[in-house]
């Protein structure tokens, strides 16, 4: 009868819980308890619903099991449920406190390792979350033509017209690339974070609309949406809707009405703007540009129809290109939104980008540090446990069962690792601001988001604790009491070998990291100090809108050596334009970077003209028809004549106001971009006015001269604030990513080494302890202290040696791969490897020496006496 009823009921009660209950509940109580819980479940079900009832049922079942222990062993073998675990914890605590030093080292190593790993994971998580906040992110792509991130304005509408069945929408974005004044009533600020976009921008991308209507905010021309901190800046707490902002764009002023306010953009967005204006504003004033098919001026994003895949859309692109008469061989593709952040290779890209390989590198480092720490922990725990054979023997004699001993050791070991985890969390919270400072990010601990990671770490702590406790738990616990008590059976040969292997592994990783960190640092140094082909020191750049006047005035100052100007400063992207060189057929053009400069550019910058001459004001035709090329351009020309014959050849400039002229000189290659890329062909020509004045200042009088200039600035360049920057710091900034990598790498290498040393120290301590008597005897027999130190250290030196042999080849391969990404690499000689190896060796010996010396100098009498 019971069985039949059971089948009816039981499909409501969680089956697994019931099975567990039956396994662990004492026999005579089982029926009563089962029935009680059945009633309980039914009551809670009607009260709170099935799921809650199931949860509560599980809780009750587990508590019954805890209270009443196992049911399937005879009474004398049953350890009482809860009670025994409390005992394990007590013993664990006692052991911990008994060996405070050892426990501290152990926990410290693991804590630091876990904390570092967590920090690095937070960083990686942040990086990978770029642009993830857009709801439609899986359907948003950027149209990329060849390797250009920006495309012609006409592309968007054309794609929509012909392939509208595949596209739900498109958005074009036109960033304002320079600083322009923005005016509200009588306040004016220089702003550069301005973009103009089609009205679909707010539909395609997800932004929190605080005021205004997302669907219509950008529909009309002259409407603008601003971020909430911008609203605060210009309007305070007042409602900005309806107010007018005056913007300048391409030399003209426009009035915009504020039609919306959005929440500030999250850090993890490749868009960086404070102002979002409607692109429709420029439909008439700049009609030509807005409909251009050749000017790569806008970023075109497409939102695919649901169900359309990236491949499907890319399949029609070849047809599209040929229908628009693009020459064959040119390709276009779709770049997923979330890839934008990680691809630094595209021409004219927008927003800060990083190399995805750096992210992976950091992941690898995080992994390494963690591995080193965990290995350490296991090593130390195992070593310590070997000493407890006597304790095991004792316990067994007093009646402990093997299972209990296993549980005891595991409890101790897992307890330690959980403590380490707890401390690691504390460390992470405390160290986060500093970490943010170094990495330039603003990471925060978001418990909800990071819960999976935390869970993973808890599992890891259990895993590490488990593996650390494995040896004592299973090997020691099996010892027969007699053996354990009598022999002081300590480490078996196998366990010693394992421990040594672990030490080798740790040090191999450390050596690898040392080499890596050194190389990164050297490459960085190299890039920052390499001869750039121009003199970057004592040069400042000042923005101006009144260049001729400024140049005139500044040249008079005694603190100023040269004044010049250029369209772009080194580090800024130089535009690519079509040009034609002599010897090319009439209808072909070549794309080359081109920039306008001032007559005195080469003198000011210290660039040497190798053939022909630089620009000169007194040569009448220079202003209109002179071109200077760099050597790379000559090499690319491949025109069948040498560099020395290039002067005097024809040159045509085919963009906007076309001009033809002659090559008047060739300059040496200078690095106008970062050293990540090789110097590309460049052509320079003269223009009368420039956005930035390049001023070479007299050494030693820089601040004084700047003050003088600043005082006069209002008359020299009205309407523009005095905006000065130093060229050398600007060049340094190009390598920000590498600088950060270098810091992070260096820091974590140091940490990994520290952990490895902790482990080595612990090990050395034990070895020294163990061999105390041996040392005593040797001393009595006449060994010198030095020879004893050597004896003890030799073993460890040998281990480190193996580690070095293992690590160096791997490091060599890795280093070469990383360096191959740079067009200009620093020379990595054998010296670096040798230095790193020696460093690792010395650190190891230093760590060991303390214990070795202590053992060697101990009084043999005291050591041998205690027997």
């Amino acid at each position: 009868m019971w069985e039949h009823e059971n089948k009816q009921r039981e499909h409501n009660v969680p089956k697994l819980a019931l099975r567990t209950l039956r396994r662990y509940c004492p026999g005579r109580l089982l029926e009563g308890v089962e029935g009680d819980l059945e009633e309980f479940f039914a009551e809670r079900s009607t009260q709170y619903g099935h799921s809650v009832a199931a949860l509560l049922y599980w809780k009750e079942v587990l508590l019954v099991c805890a209270w009443h222990g196992r049911k399937d062993k005879p009474a004398y073998q049953q350890a009482r449920g809860f009670v025994m675990w409390k005992n394990y914890l007590t013993i664990a605590r006692r052991n911990l406190l008994k060996n405070k030093g050892f426990s501290a080292i152990n926990i410290l190593g693991l804590t630091v390792g876990m904390a570092c790993c967590m920090l690095l994971l937070l960083y990686v998580q942040d990086e990978l979350s770029y642009d993830q906040h857009h709801e439609e992110r899986d359907r948003i792509y950027r149209y990329v033509f060849m390797n250009w991130a920006a495309t012609a304005p006409a592309t968007g509408p054309a794609l929509m017209e012909e392939y509208g069945h595949l596209l739900e929408s498109y958005v074009r974005v036109l960033p304002q690339s320079v600083e322009e004044p923005v005016t509200y009533r009588d306040q004016q600020f220089m702003e550069s974070r301005v973009i103009y976009a089609d009205s679909t921008f707010l539909d395609v991308f997800t932004h929190t609309m605080l005021r205004g209507n997302a669907a219509t905010a950008l529909d009309n021309p002259n409407s603008m949406v601003i971020t909430s901190s911008t609203a605060q800046k210009y309007f305070g707490d007042a409602n900005p809707l309806g107010e007018t902002l005056t913007m300048r764009f391409w030399g003209q002023s426009f009035s915009f009405e504020v039609t919306g306010v959005i929440a500030d953009l999250p850090e993890t967005s490749h868009f960086t703007f404070d102002f979002l204006g409607s692109l429709a504003t420029f439909r008439q004033p700049f009609a030509g540009a807005m409909q251009s098919t050749g000017w790569a001026g806008m970023y075109t994003y497409v939102l695919l129809e649901p169900g359309t895949t990236q491949q499907q859309f890319e399949a029609i692109l070849p047809d599209y290109l040929s229908s628009r008469n693009f020459p064959a061989g040119l390709t276009a593709r779709l770049q997923p939104l979330t890839d934008i952040r990680f691809d630094p290779s595209l021409e004219k890209d927008y927003g800060p980008r990083t190399n995805s390989s750096y992210v992976y590198l950091l992941l690898v480092i995080a992994g390494f540090v963690l591995v080193v720490a965990c290995v350490n922990f296991m090593n130390l725990t195992t070593a310590r446990a070997a000493d407890r054979a006597k304790e095991v023997g004792m316990r067994k004699t007093l009646g402990a069962q093997q299972g209990q001993l296993v549980r005891q050791f595991l409890t101790e070991s897992i307890g330690l690792s959980l403590i380490a985890l707890l401390l690691a969390c504390v460390v992470v919270v405390v160290a986060l601001p500093t970490f943010n400072g170094i990495t330039g990010k603003t990471l925060q601990i978001d418990v909800i988001r990071n819960l999976p990671m935390l869970g993973m770490f808890v599992l890891l702590a259990f895993g590490v604790g488990l593996s650390g406790g494995l040896y004592p738990a299973f090997v020691l616990a099996r010892f027969r009491p007699i053996t354990a008590l009598r022999n002081n059976a300590g480490a078996s040969a196998a366990s010693t070998r394992l421990r040594k292997a672990l030490v080798v592994g740790q040090f191999a990783i450390s050596v690898f990291l040392i080499i890596g960190a050194t190389v990164v640092f050297q490459q960085l140094n190299y890039m920052q100090n390499k001869d750039l082909g121009f003199d970057k020191d004592q040069v400042v750049m000042i923005q101006t809108n009144n260049y001729p006047v400024v140049k005139e005035a500044l040249t008079q100052l005694s603190g100023v050596r040269h004044v010049s100007g250029s369209q772009h400063v080194p580090g800024e992207r130089i535009g690519i334009y079509p040009v034609r060189l002599e010897g090319m057929p009439q209808d072909t053009t070549v794309l080359m970077r081109a920039m306008s400069v001032d007559f005195d550019y080469f003198t000011t910058m210290g660039i040497s003209v190798n053939e022909g001459r630089g620009f000169a004001e007194d040569m009448g035709n220079d202003a209109a028809g002179a071109f200077v090329l760099n050597e790379a351009a000559m090499r690319a020309w491949g025109a069948g004549f040498g560099i020395d014959e290039a002067v005097g050849k024809d040159f045509e400039w085919l963009w906007g106001q076309e001009r033809t002229g002659k090559v008047i000189g060739i300059v040496e290659d200078f690095h106008y971009a970062s050293l990540h890329t090789a110097v590309e062909p460049l052509v320079l020509y003269v223009a009368p006015a420039h956005r930035s004045a390049l001023v070479r200042l007299q050494q030693g009088r820089i601040q004084e001269t700047l003050r003088v200039i600043e005082a006069e600035w209002a008359t020299l360049s009205p309407d523009m604030p005095f905006n000065v920057s130093f060229l050398d710091s600007r060049m340094d900034a190009l390598y920000r990513a590498e600088q950060r990598l270098s810091s992070v790498f260096g820091m974590f290498t140091a940490i990994a080494i520290m952990i490895a040393c902790l482990g080595l120290f612990g090990l050395a301590t034990f070895t020294a302890e163990k061999r105390k008597k041996e040392m005593g005897v040797r001393k009595v027999l006449g060994a010198s202290q030095v020879s004893l130190v050597v004896l003890l250290s030799r073993e460890f030196a040998w281990l480190v040696g193996i580690a070095i042999v293992v690590a160096v080849p791997v490091a060599y391969v890795a280093v070469n791969r990383w360096l191959s990404d740079f067009a200009y690499q620093v020379e990595i000689g054998l010296g670096i490897y040798i230095m790193s190896a020696l460093a690792a060796l010395s650190i190891a010996l230093l760590t060991v020496s303390y214990q070795a010396i202590r053992a060697a100098t101990a009084n043999p009498v005291t050591v041998i006496r205690t027997e």
Binding site: E10, E38, A66
Partner: protein
């Protein structure tokens, strides 16, 4: 009997068994304690106390009728033995002495 001290929780459970007057079983005891003493205890803890009480021979148990609500399982019913009642009375006597002294102080709580 006077040597075996009754744990605080055991005392509560034993009292409840008496008060339920023949209707005392695991879940009922749990519910009463939850309502009257405003304490939530797990079924496992209750049975642990009952087992201890049974071992000290303060309660005895027998199997009751099966019901539909329990999927046809029988209830294990508990009732206090004579020595159980004795120990409760003893405990009350001792306590009362102390409480009387306490009341004379006239302490006011918060």
């Amino acid at each position: 009997m006077k040597g075996d001290n009754l744990g605080e929780f055991e005392e509560l459970v034993l009292l409840t068994v008496c008060n339920l007057n023949g209707e005392a079983y695991g879940l009922a005891i749990r519910k009463t304690i939850a309502e009257e003493a405003e304490r939530t205890v797990s079924v496992g803890a209750i049975y642990a106390a009952l087992e201890r009480l049974e071992r000290k021979e303060y309660v005895e148990s027998w199997m009751g009728e099966p019901t539909q609500a329990r999927g046809g399982r029988r209830k294990r019913m508990y009732r206090a033995t004579a020595s159980g009642v004795d120990v409760l009375l003893h405990v009350r006597r001792v306590r009362s002495r102390f409480w009387r002294r306490f009341d004379e102080l006239g302490l006011q709580g918060s």
